[in-house]
Symmetry: C2
Subunit: 512 residues, 2 copies
């Protein structure tokens, strides 16, 4: 067993009480002596480096969260890990004040930017929890907001763990007395860099305890925090390293079994309810389109000024006319404010990360518009139908996607999702027309015709998707697209209405 | 021939005179009528989209620089290109005030971040030239600095062109009168977003002309600027699109021939001059290492405070002990301030860019240290010897690398380059020892033994590299590494001395 370690949160939460957290287990009778610790290190180092080597080909990544009041201790632990392990395969991230580029995107964007790919270990010092504690103590966020944040932490834990990532959540505790003593001792020691922050932490030590305890419990729902006492630096470094090694070896020996598939909600045939007979005559179309584009243009300038971000997701049958709709939008908006992201098969680098990673990276900053031509819903559409994802993988994706979009919305951006619907006959007509048009020929291959056999499988997938991911703030818009003109006008109307509302709402909010 | 276009700079510079630049060629007799322009557009669009489709598989990228006094016109051109082309395969970048992340890195970092991969078109609005004009007009940079910047622009043109990239440099000119008239006309027009900047440009229009003319000439050395008159918006859009299409078609029909290999300077055997007999006994080593590590630790804290960035490049024979040296450095520096970048074979995404792209992306921000374990010199070492790069490619790499490092140094960061040298016998001894050590076994394969046959080829490559890329500010340090202890102490001494000097120098500079 590992020394000096207690599990905190999760199923074992009842094992710990608040007193232990601040007093720490350093007074435990089974404390290791200096000599014992020293004796363990050489073998430990060899095993750690070997584990890193095995990890490189193991197809999953490791995340170590290091948080707690012991900031200096955290840095020391990281330096120790870099000394004992192969630093070339460690990615270390230190919490600092978010940069301008980070502030203008959803909160987790900065973490996703730094997620380690398969084969590597990412150490997050300060982790995502530190910021929340500070904000709560300063009264910047209320209980409801804290609960929301905590839910996202837990969802992230679940999502990454389900994806095969090993996550270690280490809380470096240091009793108040020990902290005070250390800060006194290191005065004038040029080898340790004391920051004002350390004194701030010390000052608010006692008042922070209830908040910390609550947060550790709440954010330990999926994966518990492991609380380590930092009074004895040697013992602490050894405990961290052994915990990490243990977690790696456990995972090598026991690859996770796929969780049982989630049970899907009763299926409804949403697609059948779409009225494909809608049409729009040319003159009316020209007139409406022009008016809508002018409106969208003006709204987009307002969005730029108000810093309103917009995420648009386009899915639909092959040849449903996504490109044409998207061009009618981009035509109305300056290229300065809007970018289209064509989504194709993931690259090698993207495959080495969680499937949402490549979408997180491409989220717009405030005031910008990003149009995704095919989206993260590929997970529950093509990857499901073509069996590129296992059933447990695509089934849990619904909740993962809902959380992803909720974070964008909470950040204040707009999420608009469109499914362009046509029927199989219309698709066939368009395929054949493409073969005859010089500059559209490249758009059509034999595979497109073969894919038509999978139509019913896609219908199920789309219906499940709509049922599972139509949320109040980000509902699916199923657009009848047998008539291209009607589809374009419908989409532009929805975009204008939603953007108009969002801009009014955010203006009002700022005035309050 | 294309209408309304003049080439400016380069071999054809004498064709243009300053008067023409501001008056523009719109008064030319061969001006197209509105009807003629309209008639050309449908075919042009089909050809553009088709060219984009061919480009996707063509293995090179396209860069369009759009600059000039006509800011509004630039945005209109971009919107038009997005309308006429497939916007999903256009990457558009707008010059704006550099963000915090961008300011703390060498000037070109922000452009490299946005470089299009092979198969795509990147449009840079404002381009790199705009900032220089502003800074020069405001008196923030002098003639010497402007000359330096211009040299980098030209080097970038040459480097990317040599790499196969098609670069179009478009200068959108607008006579003063036309600009004034337009700003007056668009007042209250909600479809155009006028910025204060537009009035600033108008105010300084005349005084800026000599500077602009000089800069266009100087930065047109490798690739000339194409000056387009923007008085007639339709003609301008057509001219831009036709120029782009023409450039693409030209390139499809005439793939570039490899330029003739550069002639290398006379070779010197730098490696033979390294004294491999140097040794250091254990006690002395322990003592010196400890003192150096303490010094380095303190210097690194100072570097953090002063915002001194450091780039270290490590190359050397297999088993020369790079890892051991690097660990002695990282051990002394907090992981907060220092990151090791292990360089392996490039990924798919990296291969779709210029070979320097992956290194540009990883440059440290000010105050940080990045240690590259294997580097951009792979281009002139392994890629040369293993014939992964053609002779013209690796031969021009010397100049490209010198320019890359010069930009880092001009930004104020330190560049330190080390070649760890051992002899073939020592390498064999170490290979055999690795086979016997449990946690080093993975480091050795049959291929390593086979690679030994290429020793003489690598000796030539290293000598050429040292001769061609040892610059005053970034000389190569050839370190005798048959004795690991001596090598570690030598490297740390060099690092400490260089960092100490740089910190003193930058402190002095700030005080002045």
């Amino acid at each position: 067993m590992l020394e000096g370690i207690r599990i905190y949160g999760g199923e074992t939460a009842e094992m710990a009480d608040s007193k232990e957290i601040s007093d720490g287990p350093s007074e435990a009778a089974d404390k290791l002596t200096k000599t014992e610790i020293k004796a363990r290190i050489p073998d430990l180092r060899v095993e750690l480096v070997n584990a890193q080597f095995v990890l490189r080909e193991a197809g999953f990544s490791v995340i170590v969260l290091l948080a707690g009041p012991d900031r200096i201790g955290g840095e020391q632990v990281v330096d120790r890990l870099h000394e004992w392990m192969d630093g070339r395969h460690l990615d270390t991230w230190f919490a600092s004040i978010p940069t301008e580029e980070e502030r203008t995107r959803p909160r987790f964007w900065r973490f996703w930017r730094s997620m380690p790919p398969a084969g590597r270990i990412g150490i997050f010092v300060g982790a995502w929890i530190t910021q929340v504690i500070g904000e709560f103590l300063r009264g910047e966020i209320d209980d409801a907001e804290m609960a929301r944040r905590t839910r996202h932490f837990n969802n992230l834990d679940r999502m990454l763990t389900d994806d095969g990532t090993v996550i270690l959540k280490l809380w470096l505790d240091l009793p108040r007395k020990a902290m005070k003593k250390r800060l006194k001792n290191v005065q004038g020691d040029h080898a340790i860099y004391v920051e004002d922050l350390d004194y701030v932490i010390l000052k608010h030590y006692d008042s922070a305890q209830p908040v910390i305890q609550r947060l550790l419990e709440a954010s330990g729902d999926v994966l518990p925090w492991i609380v380590l006492d930092g009074s004895d630096e040697r013992a602490r470094d050894l405990a961290v390293a052994e915990t990490l090694l243990h977690a790696l070896q456990q995972r090598f020996d026991n690859p996770p079994r796929s969780p049982l598939p989630a049970v899907l909600a009763t299926r409804r045939d949403y697609l059948a309810a779409v009225d494909l007979a809608k049409t729009l005559d040319y003159d009316k179309y020209r007139k409406e389109l022009e008016a809508l584009q002018l409106q969208l243009h003006q709204l987009s300038l307002q969005a730029r000024e108000q810093g309103q971000g917009v995420v648009m997701a386009f899915e639909g049958w092959d040849a449903a006319g996504k490109g044409g709709v998207i061009r009618r939008i981009t035509h109305a908006v300056s290229a300065r404010d809007c970018k289209v992201i064509p989504v194709a098969a993931p690259t090698e680098e993207e495959l080495a990360h969680h499937y949402l990673w490549r979408f997180w990276r491409r989220l717009p900053r405030n005031g910008h518009m990003r149009i995704f031509d095919r989206t993260w819903y590929g997970r529950v559409l093509v990857e499901r139908v073509e069996r590129l994802a296992r059933p447990d993988e695509w089934q849990r994706a619904y909740a993962e996607i809902n959380d992803f979009e909720a974070q964008i919305i909470e950040h204040g951006q707009l999420v608009l999702k469109f499914w362009l619907h046509i029927d199989p006959d219309e698709q066939l007509r368009r395929f054949k027309a493409r073969e005859k048009t010089a500059y559209k020929k490249y758009k059509i291959t034999d595979e497109d015709f073969r894919n038509r056999e999978k139509w019913p499988a896609y219908v199920s997938a789309v219906n499940d998707m709509v049922g599972q991911t139509s949320t109040e703030d980000a509902p699916w818009h199923l657009v009848a697209a047998n008539d291209k003109r009607a589809a374009r006008v419908e989409v532009l109307t929805i975009v204008c209405d939603a953007l108009d509302q969002a801009l009014k709402k955010s203006k009002k909010k700022k005035q309050v």
